[in-house]
């Protein structure tokens, strides 16, 4: 298979022009997709329903439609903890946004080097990068804690943020490497002929074509950082620095009376940013070569 790229080939996304053929199979496909969709949606519906039930009937009233409606979960949940809930939301957002920026910048640089440049030690460094993904995090907890303690970073966001700016998450590097490697080599060659150095090639040629990989990275970073529990648990001590997952856990004590209704209400609210980000970001997931085209 050889690439023949002509500048005239304008490429339309297949999604925009469904072949106007038989209708029945398409209808059936929608029925099937929707049926599966209900199964996928069920947990969210259940969570919404639980957030409307009084705490002591959350587990006993098993119907999806609450027998007793308790909208107060939302207002009580918002103020039940030592700080109003917006503090936790803002804290989490700050960390998430900075982490995304850090991951996108640092991981794409590293990925470009691994995917498109030839330099001494490339394979060794790549293996090391994969290796860092393979050691269970639990045994790193104590050494890391000691390290951050020495740096006097405890009870700040630095232990949560700085690693993201230093490309410590092999997952995203590896992801971008695979995307970049699937791009035609002709691009680099053409850029070089045009007189672009590696940095300009990276910035002007590769980056724009890797939008889906960046969108994926941004979405995954958002979700994993937004949900991260153990890191913030260890490194943050002041309640006013707490993130959403830490706050949510404060509603419950596995051995005591828990404010389940409030917890579900706040859990649902704190899903909104993630879902919103996914919906906003997903259109970039599909802006690959196929859509932007190579003109």
């Amino acid at each position: 298979m050889t690439l023949t790229m002509t500048r005239e080939t304008s490429v339309e996304p297949p999604a925009d022009q469904p072949p106007p053929k038989r209708c029945r199979p398409r209808f059936m496909r929608h029925v099937l997709l929707s049926a599966v969709g209900v199964i996928m949606m069920y947990p969210l519906l259940w969570m919404i329903s639980s957030s409307l039930k009084p705490s002591n009937t959350v587990f006993t009233d098993e119907s999806l439609w609450p027998a007793v409606l308790d909208l107060g979960n939302y207002s009580r949940g918002w103020t039940a903890l030592s700080e109003p809930f917006e503090i936790y939301l803002v804290n989490s957002l700050v960390i998430v946004v900075l982490s995304i920026v850090g991951n996108l910048l640092s991981c794409s640089l590293a990925a470009y080097a691994f995917a498109r440049l030839r330099f001494t030690g490339r394979k060794l460094f790549f293996a090391m990068m994969l290796g860092t993904m393979m050691l269970p995090g639990h045994v790193l907890v104590v050494p890391q804690y000691v390290m951050f303690d020495r740096l006097e970073w405890l009870n700040t966001y630095y232990p949560l943020l700085v690693p993201h700016f230093l490309a410590t998450n092999g997952f995203y590097i590896f992801l971008m490497v695979q995307f970049m490697r699937s791009l035609p080599q002709e691009l680099d060659d053409a850029a070089r002929i045009d007189g672009c150095g590696p940095f300009r090639t990276f910035w002007k040629v590769i980056m724009p074509l890797c939008l889906p990989a960046f969108a994926t990275t941004a979405i995954f970073t958002f979700i994993s950082v937004w949900n991260e529990f153990f890191g913030p648990l260890l490194y943050l001590t002041d309640p006013e620095l707490y993130t959403v997952p830490l706050a949510l856990r404060q509603f419950m004590d596995s051995e005591g009376q828990s404010q389940w209704g409030e917890m579900f209400a706040m859990s649902f609210l704190s899903l909104a940013p993630v879902i919103g980000f996914f919906i906003a970001g997903q259109k970039y997931l599909v802006k690959g070569i196929a859509t932007t085209g190579l003109r």
């Binding site: 490429v11 269970p136 590896f174 879902i275 919906i279 259109k283």
Partner: protein, 292 residues
């Protein structure tokens, strides 16, 4: 000569942040490697123990059980969830109206997985008196406690994992869009069937992404922790049926104050995962196609 050195310099320049990150990683890494050869209870200073921790592994029945659980889980759930993810991505990629909605809905479980609420819901669905058994009761069958019976608990967890196929699906979707559509147009003009297009265009051109998902899923699956932890409250129960390797490691390190042993376990796992990954990279030469 100078060209090579310029390439080197560019490579290192791009890797600069990553080198900085490695400094952060290397200290804890070597600390844990050192601890693997010590007797360390977290509360008093570690004492050198040579290969003791590794020797103890040979007759630690729970360790063997946890390896069995983890490998079973990996071997079943990784291919299963990747196939489902690819299949759904293929369906969603090809001209479905309302694509954005389906994609979001199918991704929801991945957003929710691991949250406390899901675990509770899961029990309610798969419990002895749960929805599944209510359904079976219509046919006069009294089902077991799918999460509380040691014979079924792991299968139930695998199902939960497959249900969160959204992450690989998103990556597949992104990868599918990297395939220039003109290939399909050309193939359609030549009258190639859908299956042939899949075999000769989609699979080879998507292979770097499939490879990524496979390697990534393997590494993640061997390190499964959160799912096992939240489902069993960290015990690996019922029985030892969901005692994932990392769960046992965590128990050893933090509940039983045996961090030396836990560190040794961690490095054993690293070797195991590295082995599997290396095999994958070797095999990749035969089925993963890059354009260079």
């Amino acid at each position: 000569m100078t060209a090579i050195r310029r390439q080197d310099r560019a490579g290192y320049l791009f890797l600069l942040p990553w080198f900085g990150g490695m400094l952060f990683m290397i200290v804890p890494f070597f600390a844990s490697l050192y601890l693997a050869f010590t007797d360390y209870d977290l509360l008093t200073a570690p004492t050198w123990a040579g290969l003791d921790n590794f020797r103890r592994m040979f007759d630690d029945a729970k360790l063997h059980q946890s390896l069995k659980v983890t490998i079973t889980y990996t071997v079943v759930s990784v291919p299963l969830s990747l196939i489902v993810a690819l299949a759904v991505a293929m369906v969603l990629d090809r001209g479905v109206r309302g694509l954005a909605i389906y994609r979001s809905v199918y991704y929801l479980p991945s957003l929710l997985a691991g949250s406390v609420a899901i675990v509770m819901l899961w029990r309610y669905i798969f419990g002895y008196n749960g929805i599944v058994n209510d359904f079976l009761a219509w046919f006069g069958i009294q089902g077991p406690g799918w999460a509380s019976d040691p014979r079924y608990a792991l299968s139930t967890l695998i199902l939960l994992h497959v249900w969160t196929f959204g992450s690989p699906m998103v990556i597949f979707l992104a990868g599918l869009r990297q395939i220039p559509a003109m290939y399909y147009e050309a193939a359609s003009m030549d009258g190639a069937s859908g299956w042939r297009q899949f075999r000769s265009i989609t699979l080879p051109l998507l292979s770097p992404i499939i490879f990524f998902n496979l390697v990534q899923a393997l590494i993640a699956s061997f390190q499964t922790f959160t799912q096992g932890y939240v489902i069993s409250n960290g015990t690996g129960g019922p029985g030892e049926s969901t005692l994932f390797y990392n769960l046992y490691l965590y128990q050893k390190g933090f509940a039983e104050f045996d961090m030396g042993y836990a560190s040794a376990m961690a490095w054993l796992l690293l070797v195991i995962i590295a082995g599997f990954t290396a095999v994958n990279f070797l095999a990749a030469r035969f089925w993963v196609f890059y354009d260079n």
